[in-house]
Symmetry: C2
Subunit: 246 residues, 2 copies
């Protein structure tokens, strides 16, 4: 049994804790939450003072990027394995007093939507092979995809994730705006959204690209631009250009 402490109460902490609670090989020794708020469905001890953190094999800091180094420096122990879960913060944010690592689940988490972590890539980094193996076991307890990724590559991966997830979701949002402006149900677009994501499992994005930009159908492009507000128009133009540049 590997003992884990979760430090944090945001979306990532929330979903990791639920996954660990369901994993046979993991025992959650404690969850630290500044507010003392319990995670629904999790029975583990909640503590509000870092001084109360019990002994564990791994301490997982899952807080906002800017708070990681501060929390790490306040841990009341040394030479234990302490990892963070951020895509964009280097492994060196964990102070040298402890053994540093990273445990980054490459996924988008919202509190109100459960996520099956079993196919979510867990990107792992550690300073020693011993710690790497330990993190690999923790990762395998909740996911079938555990990958060694260093801080530099992880930062690039996180950047790519912003495009394929955050910016994609914003495209959904603009689609919804346009539907609302014209009294059309956004639900009509949902099968298309699913199919667009599914296509990428079988085709490369270049092969899968369709639409007026790809066809260089200027008449349709001009008709579309006439229907858009300034912000939407700028996005339409730059994405059309990007598709045509290839």
């Amino acid at each position: 049994m590997i003992k884990v402490c979760i430090i944090g109460s945001g979306n990532v902490a929330h979903h990791l804790t639920l996954a660990f609670q369901a994993a046979d090989q993991i025992e959650i020794a404690a969850v630290y939450s500044r507010s003392g708020e319990k995670i629904q469905g999790v029975d583990s001890m909640v503590i509000t003072d870092l001084e109360d953190l019990p002994m564990a094999d791994v301490y997982i800091i899952s807080v906002s990027d800017s708070a990681i180094a501060d929390i790490a420096s306040k841990l009341p122990f040394s030479d234990r394995l302490v990892v963070h879960t951020s895509g964009s913060v280097g492994i060196d944010a964990i102070t040298e007093q402890n053994r540093a690592g990273v445990f980054y689940p490459l996924q988008t988490f919202s509190k109100n939507k459960t996520v099956d972590l079993s196919d979510v890539p867990i990107c792992i980094e550690a300073l020693s092979e011993h710690d790497y193996k330990l993190l690999e076991t923790v990762g395998r307890a909740i996911s079938g995809v555990v990958q060694r990724i260093d801080s530099k590559k992880r930062r690039a991966l996180h950047l790519a994730a912003v495009f394929v997830s955050n910016f994609t979701n914003r495209m959904y949002g603009i689609g919804e705006q346009i539907c609302q402006q014209h009294n059309i149900s956004f639900d009509l677009l949902k099968p298309l959204i699913q199919q667009t994501a599914d296509k990428i499992l079988a085709l490369s994005p270049t092969q899968a690209q369709t639409g007026p930009a790809k066809r260089r159908d200027q008449a349709t492009i001009d008709a579309h631009l006439a229907l858009l507000n300034d912000e939407q128009k700028k996005i339409y133009q730059i994405m059309t250009q990007s598709i045509q540049n290839g």
Copy 2:
């Protein structure tokens, strides 16, 4: 049995023909293809001269937007139901010599990827209730979602589809570029792409929005911008702005 002729051999014609061939209530009377090319798996007669079009209940013109009016004007008959499959062309592209309609499947089609049409919205427009009912029956033969949408709304819907599908696919493409630049497998992003699309079934795009732009995490945004080329940087900035404007 409703007799249908398909006029065209592009991606939409291809997938519609396959779906009609599998539908009990539909008989494909002929497929017109300028090149005479057969669609793999379809047994129907292929003709290369519009003059050879046999008698049918519906003629479905599925060609590039700019060619619709020209093909419609060359049909060697009158007073038959003739529809096109375009999202952005008005119903009036079908000349008055025939009864005009639109049969627009709201989906992204690529030749090498089969599409299950059963949940694809078929957006229908006709000039008479009789023709509308006929198109509705044809639509229901291949899809569970048949919707009456006029030319103006269809154009807006098509525009929204460009954002949620064509531009989203381009975001996948930029994600792949970044992975290639840093020697990372694009496969790592595929579960995230699926989850981002799945979230939209349960949450609105506004609720589902996450990421550094949403959190106004300027340190991460600046670090990301430093890793991008000029085109990627412009897209990153405008999408970040758009997310923050809400």
